[in-house]
């Protein structure tokens, strides 16, 4: 099975920035319902800052690429999403190390480390109505698929489907973490904005990493 080159990871980040740009008003609308109406604008600001440093990204290994993304997000996004997405890429960076490319299995390990970082920082578990509800099942599906010998494209598509299912599962939940938890019962009936942006991350991966 072919490895994922650094250039493909750059394409992934670029595609994700594009999805965030396209969906920023929708993400903000979701956040107005149960949060503080800033998720789309904040993520967009952060990923535009990442794109502005694209020239720097090209000279880095995979770990360096993820670290640069992490630091930019930490400094520009703000809110919980800056700390959480920043932590995700920072942990992914440590796990990826100074490699020019990753095998699909290595990428699974990298994703796992990123998830562990988010769980530690945000202290959220599946079912709390957060991004973890999409991220955890997506990574599980990805690793299962790779472990079963399926190709990278298939694994990324499984991950995206699992993330989407995770996202849908957040709709009826009463939030237990983040600002939405202040609403109590009134948070039920709305999709979680962080889980929604997480789906886009996997959709962007399925559109770029194996091609």
């Amino acid at each position: 099975m072919s490895n994922i080159s650094k250039d493909k990871f750059i394409s992934w980040i670029e595609r994700y920035a594009g999805h965030i740009a396209d969906q920023k008003d929708y993400l903000t609308e979701l956040d107005s319902a149960i949060g503080d109406a800033d998720h789309g604008a904040n993520m967009h600001r952060g990923f535009q800052a990442v794109l502005a440093k694209k020239a720097d990204l090209q000279n880095k290994d995979v770990g360096g690429l993820f670290k640069s993304v992490a630091m930019t997000l930490i400094q520009t996004v703000g809110g919980a999403s800056g700390a959480l997405y920043g932590t995700f890429f920072l942990q992914a960076s440590t796990a990826a190390g100074a490699k020019p490319e990753l095998s699909p299995a290595e990428f699974g390990t990298v994703l796992d480390k990123g998830l562990a970082g988010i769980v530690l920082r945000g202290k959220a578990a599946v079912g709390d109505k957060t991004m973890v509800d999409a991220l955890q099942p997506a990574i599980k599906a990805y690793k299962y698929s790779i472990g079963a010998g399926e190709d990278l494209q298939k694994a990324l598509e499984s991950a995206t489907v699992a993330a989407e299912e995770g996202l849908r599962s957040t709709i009826p939940i009463v939030a237990r973490k983040g600002r939405a938890s202040y609403l109590g019962e009134r948070s039920a009936g709305h999709a979680d904005p962080g889980a929604t942006s997480t789906v886009l991350l996997f959709r962007a991966a399925a559109e770029t990493l194996s091609l």
Binding site: D36, A37, D38, I74, Q75, G78, R176, K177, R179
Partner: protein, 333 residues
């Protein structure tokens, strides 16, 4: 959206630049990353106080920087927590060698970003303590939520702890005092109207002309219940009841009564609320010995009010009365 802005992107930077120009003798504005320090920072040997949060709550926190209150404030984007690099640079800039206290309002983003900043500062051997303020009785405190929000008590904690630091208190002492203020203060707010975040361009929520939102937070996030609009006296009872029951405040207690505007409510109305709150507390045998009335922790142009009651003792009263010289709060100095 009708706002006195040039562009949503520049509103925070342009506002803190104006604040710095208006109060150049008291504060200094630093940019990229953005933070505001006392003009004379760092004050050698003094414990430094750093706070911060999303913009849109002015005068909090930038307006509370100065002698007898904060050493630094970090303004995030509107209603968005500041980023770790801001608190890290602010912490370094005001560190007088005796440690730095971070005063953090309990919002998920604020807590996480302050934690990351504290990690960075500690890696450079700066002693950092953080106290999280969570005084909003509108939010049920349980293991299954992010906990109570930090609201009005934050202003009182920053004033009281600032006085203690000015008087030479150690980091441990000032942090313990901050916990004490948080433990003795309770708040609840309400909204008559929503507010519009500049980069969003439309109101955060719809609130019909004849309705109000009880238990609102300071970010335009909806509260717990929405009801038909009532009289000022009834609203005061609705807010004060849960506050008094929660601590609970008892007959014989001496308290500070803080009636706050969410931004759009004028003093004319705030004093109507204050009058009723004072009456209810007095009838319950609770003695109001100190007061604060005005827009101090706001939510952009939202109309509405929040009430905070802080139980006082001799120490807290003395520190409240101590001189303070900031853009937003000043007496005795």
């Amino acid at each position: 959206m009708k706002k006195l802005i040039n562009s949503p992107e520049n509103v925070v930077l342009e506002s803190i630049t104006g604040l710095g120009a208006a109060f150049s003798g008291i504060i200094k504005v630093h940019t990229n990353p953005n933070f505001i320090t006392r003009a004379d920072a760092p004050v050698k040997g003094k414990v430094a106080l750093v706070s911060g949060g999303g913009s849109g709550h002015e005068p909090m926190h930038g307006g509370f920087v100065g002698r007898g209150m904060l050493d630094a404030a970090c303004p995030g984007a509107v209603f968005t927590s500041p980023t770790p690099d801001q608190m890290y640079e602010a912490t370094k800039a005001v560190n007088g060698g005796n440690g730095v206290l971070h005063i953090v309002k309990n919002y998920t983003g604020d807590v996480m970003n302050f934690e990351m900043a504290a990690d960075l500062a500690r890696a450079e051997a700066i002693e950092v303590e953080a106290v999280v303020i969570d005084d909003d009785v509108a939010v049920k405190d349980s293991l299954y939520t992010a906990g109570r929000r930090g609201v009005g008590t934050t202003v009182l904690a920053e004033k009281i702890c600032g006085a203690a630091a000015e008087a030479g208190g150690s980091l441990k002492e000032v942090a313990a005092l901050c916990h004490k203020v948080n433990a003795n203060g309770r708040s609840m707010g309400m909204a008559l109207t929503s507010c519009t975040v500049p980069h969003v361009g439309k109101p955060t929520f719809d609130l019909p002309e004849d309705e109000m939102e009880i238990g609102i937070g300071i970010h335009g996030e909806p509260g717990r219940t929405r009801t038909k609009l009532k009289s000022a006296d009834e609203i005061t009872e609705t807010l004060l009841g849960p506050i008094v029951e929660d601590l609970p405040f008892k007959s014989g207690d001496e308290v500070l009564l803080f009636v706050n505007s969410m931004g759009g409510t004028p003093l004319l109305e705030l004093f109507v609320i204050y009058r009723k709150a004072h009456e209810i507390l007095t009838k319950a045998g609770i003695k109001v010995t100190r007061s604060l009335v005005g827009p101090y922790i706001t939510s952009l142009e939202m109309a509405g009010t929040s009430i905070t009651v802080l139980k006082l003792d001799d120490e807290l009263t003395r520190l409240w009365d101590a001189p303070v010289l900031t853009p937003g709060l000043r007496w005795g100095a």
